[in-house]
Every structure is written in C-alpha cells, then in structure tokens.
Point group: C2
C-alpha cells in the first residue's frame, strides 16, 4: 500500500534540472515565440516530450496541433500539466517508443526535440529524431534545432587534472598509480573555467538535422588546435553549439563552450595521461574518432590522438 | 577489440570522490593510526574494501593479517594497489558477496567497514556488516565504526525549497503544480548551509554496531525540534554522526551535520509541501518512520509527520 502511495517514478529532479537550465529552455522558447510565422497553423511533433514544455511553447506560438511522444512515465505528469494550462485541445500525448507509435496524422510540418546528450552525442536521442524525420516529416518540413556542431578546445587546468589523474599517485601516503590509466579513460562532465582555455577551438563535426543520417553518429575527424598562451596542456575539452535556423527570420543559437554561461551539459573533459608543455602560437595536430559501443547503442567511445599519443575514452 | 581495451569498469570516479572526502577517510585513518594498541597483531576483516584503503591503514597500524572482501570489479584494482605498496603478505583479497565467501580463518578480531549511505541507512551495507559480525567476529572482537546515530534538524531555506517545490508553480509562464507532490516525495541530497538551521537537532536513532540487529534498519521515533529563531520552516534535514569508540583510548568522531564541514554524504533534505511559520522557543512535535521498500532491500522509505501533516519520502 505504501508502494502505491507514491506517484509513479517520473524523475522530477532530472526534469527540474533541465527546465531550470535557462540557456537550454529559453533557446527553444525563443525559437518558437520569436518566429510565430513558422509555427502558426502548423502540425508539430515533439519527440521525447518530458514535461511537455516544448509542446506548450509550440501551442502558444500558434501551432494548430501538437503530438507529444515519450515512452517514460513522465508523460502522465505532462498530461496533467497540459490540463492545468487548458491546452488539451491543442496537444495530444502518445506514450511509447517513437519507432513504434502511430500518429493520428500521416505527416507533420515541424519536429521539435531536445535530444542532445553530453558532448552532443553521448546517450543522445539523435537516432530517434532521425527516424521520426524520415517517417513523419512532410516534404519541406523542418526539424528544430537543426544546425549542430561538435567542437574541441585545449585546456590547461592542472587542478582539474590533478583531482582526476594525478591524485592517484599519493592517496593518504599510499600509491594507487595503477588507477591512473582507468581514471584517464573516463571522460568527465565538468564546468571548465573560461580562463583555463589555452587554444583556439576547432570544429570536428557538423550535423544538419534536416539532412543527417544515422551513420553520422560515428565519425572521424582531424583537428588542429592553435595555442593562445604558454602552459601545460592537461586536457582536451569537448562541447557543442546548437542553432535553430531553417526558415527562421530570427535565428536562435546557443553554445555549451567554456566561454559561455554554463548549462546542465557543462563540458566534456578528456584528460591527457601526461600533460604537454605548449607555447603561444604553437599548433597541435590530432585526430578524434567517435564510435558506438557494440551492444550499447546509446553509449559512445571516443579515441583522441594528440601529437603521437592516442587515448581511448568512454562515458559511463 | 575496443571493448577489451578498457580496464574493467571499476567506478574510478566514485572511489575517487569517497577517498577525497577527507572527513570520512581521515576518520578511519585516525582511528587506526592513533590506536595502534587496538590493531597490533590483530586479524582484520574489511567488508566492502573498494580500493583497499582501509585494509592498508589497518596493515600499517600493525594488523597481522587483513582479509578484504568486495564483490565489485574494483577489487582487481585493489589487488594492484596492494602490490604497489608491498602489502601482499599482509592483505588477502576475496572477491564475492560477504554472505557467500569463506575466509581462511574461522574468526577475526576486528571488522572495519565503510558501509554508510545517505541518511546513514539509504542504500547502506549495514545488513552485510551485521551478517559479517555474527558470522566472523571472535568473542570480544570489535566492529569499527561502532557508534552511529541519526539526527533531524529543522531548516528555513526558502531558496532550496523554492528550487525543489515552489518552482513548479510557474515554469516559463506555465503552471506545473501537479509536479509538486511528486517533487516533495523525493528526498534531496544537498549541502545545507549552517545559517539556515532554525531548530536544535534531535536524535531519532542510536545504532551500536557491536550489538545492533538487522531489524534496527527499520525504526519509528517521535521527535521534538526546539526552534532557535523566527522564520518559515521549509524542510526537515537528516544527517548522522559516527564514532570509533569501543576499546579505543583515542576515540574518533565525525558528523555530517549542516554545522560541520561537508562530506560526500552532504545532508538529506525532506521538504515540507507547505512551509510552517515558526518562532524562537517554539517546539515542533513529530514522528519519523523508516521502512525498507519491499522488493528493493537497499532502498528505504521515510514517513515524517510534522505537527498534524504526514508526508512520505523516498530516495531514488
């Protein structure tokens, strides 16, 4: 009976944290509220609707009908939220995997989704959005956000590196050095201070949601990082930029770079096992390879070569 | 082949965070280093050894033999760590569930374990330590830590409450009030600032590891919180105190209260659905009930009555 007392598990904290991320949520809002001509009278599909916030923005921006799909229990809360806001006539919920559901319409004009994971692609729903587009988007329809890019930048943050890697050399008087290689393999999601950046950023991947394919999740790219200071390069930091562009007279953009206000995505830190001394004007050549983990399609592994040294990373 | 490249998953980050918690780790260290007469020549069992840090402290404090048990993959790293520190002759690792393993000795003199979870008992290994004690501890042997207590204190933190509960009333212009009851049910692990405390603390549970029973995990206790200021009581905050006492000439204690330096356990915050106005000198009577969740023995649910209002909480 106590079990039944509890509301179905709906990850209140996680949804709260995402909603409280103003950079994220206001970008979606601004895209819709500032471009009402794009949304007025349109049929919108919200992929992974969560609490329904994007569906409500779309309805308020003038969409004639919104279909909101989520397979998680939170959708039952979203149904209550929509009633609270008297939007039941505009927004229809469908619980299930996007890949399995049937919509009451054959095609939609616009697909909205907040599918991005850490480092854009970790545990992301990009696959699902691409499936939704290919199955449900009318010719000439639009996916938002559409312009996404992945960037790397070099960082000299000896404190962050020491906490994650150097720490293991002396733990209360004992050596735990054998932990270092495993600790380096873990990509860290952390807020990197802008003043630790020691290179120009370099773009390693462009993704246009209106045209990309499932295979775009895996990619290999060479990169060159141009140093803008002297110091010890301790880590390569990954982040992404997002744009709401296609057909919008007032485009909206945000960045998860260390130089921009932090978001719940923070940055993704790939520590070097051994820091590299760098100097102003020097360039560092490298290569990044991003692959799915066999047997765990939502996970990714990343191989980064910096100079002559290669390192595998994963997010767990 | 890439799969094989990675070290076995060993939760480097979590073990790092626990080791970096100096309040926690130095308390264990101090108990052993400052009471060498307790440990010299003794046989020690380390329950849930992780990286092996407690086993190494015990060996350095003079234990003749340490048996270190863990069922997690981290034990393979611990084996490497012990070799790095030339302690293979003192420390023997046994991988498996404590409840299933056979030790090379019939009884041990001392059981060391860092078994504590959030709010002491959430997801804790207390059951396992009690089983280890009943099965392996020699008559007159000791368990460390041994003196544990659970405390409640009242807090007036409208900002924390607003973030977790009030937030849902207006989310970018939409009402999500139906999320509030679910949001209140989630106990929050957060660092509470000492200056938000608005009542005296009240102890609701004493546990002596040398005598407690499995049934002690579930308890009911009345409490009285005496207000030491005027304000709005927004939340009941739970924390625990730990003592290394039995037979120690130099006892060691630490507390996870809001008035002490924060640990990785932080505090556990139980928000009230509706804050209560309180004034200096007033007393608040209540009752707390802690029960296991059927089907998930590591989880607990907590029912707290404050005045006339009862609220169920769970940690997820």
């Amino acid at each position: 009976e106590d079990e039944a007392y509890f509301s179905s598990y709906a990850d209140y904290g996680i949804h709260g944290d995402m909603l409280k991320d103003r950079v994220r949520t206001e970008s979606y809002r601004d895209c819709m509220y500032k471009n009402p001509e794009v949304f007025r009278g349109k049929v919108v599909l919200d992929v992974g609707c969560g609490t329904g916030i994007l569906s409500m923005f779309a309805a308020r921006a003038g969409a004639s009908q919104v279909f909101a799909v989520d397979q998680a229990e939170i959708i039952y809360q979203a149904m209550g939220i929509i009633r609270e806001n008297n939007l039941e006539d505009k927004i229809t919920f469908i619980k299930g995997r996007l890949e399995d559901v049937t919509l009451p319409v054959e095609k939609v004009d616009i697909i909205m989704s907040e599918w991005m994971g850490y480092f854009l692609l970790f545990e992301s729903m990009l696959d699902t959005v691409v499936v939704a587009r290919d199955q449900f988007l009318a010719p000439g329809g639009k996916v938002y956000p559409d312009k996404c890019s992945v960037w790397l930048v070099g960082v000299a943050d000896s404190e962050l590196w020491q906490q994650a890697v150097g720490f293991w050399d002396d733990v209360y008087g004992f050596s735990m050095s054998c932990m270092k290689s495993g600790a380096v393999e873990d990509a860290h999601v952390e807020v990197v201070q802008a003043d630790k950046v020691i290179t120009e950023p370099c773009k390693v991947k462009d993704l246009d949601l209106n045209t990309c394919q499932l295979t775009d999740l895996e990619f290999t790219s060479n990169f060159t990082l141009r140093c803008c200071g002297d110091g010890e390069l301790t880590s390569i930091v990954g982040y992404f930029n997002i744009g709401f562009e296609a057909g919008c007279s007032r485009q909206v953009h945000f960045s998860t770079s260390p130089s921009d206000p932090p978001t719940h995505w923070k940055q993704t830190v790939f520590h070097l096992e051994t820091p590299i001394a760098v100097s102003d004007g020097m360039t560092i050549d490298g290569r990044i390879q991003v692959k799915k983990v066999i047997g765990d399609p939502r996970s990714l592994q990343v191989k980064i070569r910096v100079g002559l040294r290669s390192q595998m990373y994963q997010m767990r």
